[in-house]
Symmetry: C2
Subunit: 411 residues, 2 copies
């Protein structure tokens, strides 16, 4: 297990996090795996809270993901319970049982149906969640819930994260202000057996479940689904959004529609900022990399090419070495398998076009490129010269730190 | 540029390489990029030699790949010219011209059509091949060709390789013996701007081009196409097979057929051994990893899952750390996107089943697993428990050496 990791050089400070009406939350040390720190987080929501969720596409998801998918069918939520240290993944029927017992214990405290309790777990794979420790710690946790504990919650869900991740935004629905606040964890897809990406967002807006799900899905598509640390997908990735309905604003119709435009935009921005915080904490990351591909035959094609560049170990190691190696970018475009024409391809780094339409730009100015590569935020642009498709994705560099964290001997 | 790399701990000694009737070859220092070593290799084949080839699937291939694809349409070959130090990739019309002029110069010396000359280049991307240096060195190279220079040829095509790669086999066609000898280079898909996978195989058998192509394609499918070092695909990957027709054996029909069974098997074995030599020289490799997936819904599905495991940075770093981390193997199965059922999945390392049908095997013996992980050759087996599909692929671990080689500052 990796210990005492230095804080990422790309870390950002946590903002002040005001309460969200209808949300009480808190953390406690349940001793599930870690010693001397809080590892169990609970949020409780006002009656009438609607819920939306997006989950890992893994074919081998954890028991909590299965649980949440079923719970989401109801569209309402009263609580979410999150533990660090054990992922409850690949644990068969015993894992399902541990999830069910955890939800039932929380439901009893809250006074709701178990299907209104959402669950998320990260940590080791293959060990059944010690749900006895979890349920034993729940009553004290529930007693201590407060509207003020967002910062503690952001810290309580960390595993190999080197800094806590949180964003808050204001939006307007029909002229009335609403608050959206979210916290996230993640640094590698699975790292020393115990990292993954989790995100919990709450708003005091009153939004029907279908409209909430639509807004969340759109926001995740342009945020978390446009980021990659190491191309590995966790069995536990979860983004949950809860709307408590405590704010006063004109009624939102079931299908959402125009009245939600501002909310959707604010939510997308919040998710995007949280996703970038996860990349900034990518295991061993020294540089945040933005890859924009335009001129593709479609937006979907542009995204495949951008992710091929962002996931290429050779591109990522070159950037770690502060080498603006556009040859490797060309290689990654070529291997993506999407329509590309070598002789129309252009590549820029930090705004300097190094290659244009299939060849190096003779005598391009290397000085600004060299300066850009020494910075902490790297911009790569590729123009395929074929159409109007465009996509931007984010990743981090591949460094010795990644090998240290993931290749160290397990105790 | 990486220099003075230590020889891979997984290196194998080069076998004695007897002549192949109808092949003369040699190397020379043309000074294309390297100093003080041979960097240009030529093979000349007897009249009537047939050719087969398999190339990178990159959408941005190098000019030599384009040239070979066209040349292959003729089905005959008299020469192949290979340089190290410059890949002639992403060089536009000037690159095409450099390829054409190189082939014409070789054709003039050999007395054949330029379309009977095959080309391969590896090295930096984005610089036009200095074909003047190449063509200036060709006459002396041509004068010095000999049937005995296979070992020199294997060394002359190396770039970041730490050991030369060659295999020779005997086969029988209709009871008569034939020889097949091949050399290869490669250590990363593209490394310090100048590595890729090239393979040249010659036989004295007399085999029609169509049958030769069919045998090569089948052999590549179970060898080079089942290996991966870092998931990055070169713009220059090339495997060429030449049959000089100098051996005496019963006639092979155009479509090949049963008479070629022994030849095809020997060829496939030779290609497989060469491909494993490339993996053994994978950048930074300390361990050779064999991943077998069975119980998939089809062979193709098994291969996708096996490659997802073999390309996972988290699996590869775990093995570098000698950690039999089956949780990461489960993660990689899940992200592959192929049919998989968490509760039927079994995982073995070094022959010990650690997880069976969706859960850890209680009390499995860790001692043989720990011992296996300390060795240089690691075996992973996954049983999906769904069907009869099966595939085996090979890769190497991901170590600090890979970051050193690919993340060092370019001079």
């Amino acid at each position: 297990m990796a210990k005492d990791l230095p804080v990422s050089p790309l870390a950002v400070p946590m903002p002040a996090l005001p309460p969200v009406a209808g949300v009480r939350l808190g953390t406690v040390a349940a001793g599930i795996r870690y010693k001397g720190r809080d590892d169990l987080m609970m949020m409780v929501f006002a009656p009438g809270t609607t819920a939306a969720g997006v989950f890992t596409k893994s074919k081998c998801p954890g028991a909590p993901v299965d649980w949440c998918r079923k719970a989401l069918a109801g569209g309402t939520a009263r609580a979410v319970v999150v533990n660090a240290g054990n992922a409850n993944v690949f644990t068969g029927r015993a894992g399902e049982e541990a999830a069910r017992l955890s939800a039932e214990a929380a439901a009893k405290l809250v006074g709701c149906a178990p299907s209104e309790v959402f669950l998320a777990s990260t940590g080791v794979i293959g060990e059944v969640l010690p749900h006895g420790k979890l349920t034993a710690a729940l009553p004290a946790l529930h007693d201590g819930l407060s509207p003020e504990a967002w910062a503690e919650a952001a810290r309580g869900i960390m595993t190999t994260d080197t800094f806590p991740k949180a964003v808050t935004r204001q939006a307007s629905i029909g002229g009335a202000p609403v608050t959206i606040t979210g916290i996230a964890k993640g640094s590698g897809m699975i790292a020393p057996d115990m990292a993954t990406m989790l995100c919990f967002v709450a708003t005091d807006a009153k939004i029907p479940a279908a409209a909430l799900q639509s807004a969340l899905k759109a926001g995740v598509e342009t945020s978390f689904n446009c980021t990659t640390v190491d191309s590995d997908t966790s069995t536990s990735d979860t983004v949950l959004l809860f709307a408590t309905g405590q704010a006063e604003h004109p009624e939102v119709p079931a299908e959402g529609g125009e009245i939600l435009a501002g909310f959707r935009e604010a939510l997308a921005g919040l998710l995007h900022e949280l996703a970038l915080q996860v990349v900034r904490d990518g295991e061993g990351a020294q540089k945040l990399i933005q890859v924009t591909v335009r001129g593709a035959v479609s937006d979907a094609s542009a995204k495949v090419v951008a992710l091929a560049i962002a996931n290429s170990p050779l591109v990522k190691t070159a950037i770690a070495g502060e080498d603006a190696n556009w040859g490797r970018i060309v290689m990654a475009v070529g291997k993506a398998g999407e329509p590309a024409d070598r002789d129309r391809l252009s590549v820029a780094v930090g705004g300097t076009w190094m290659a244009r339409e299939g060849g190096v730009v003779p005598g391009y100015d290397e000085a600004p490129v060299v300066a850009h590569m020494k910075g902490g935020e790297i911009e790569i642009e590729v123009d395929l010269g074929l159409g109007e498709g465009k996509a931007t994705v984010w990743t981090c560099d591949l460094t010795h730190g990644y090998i240290d964290i993931n290749g160290s001997y397990r105790s």
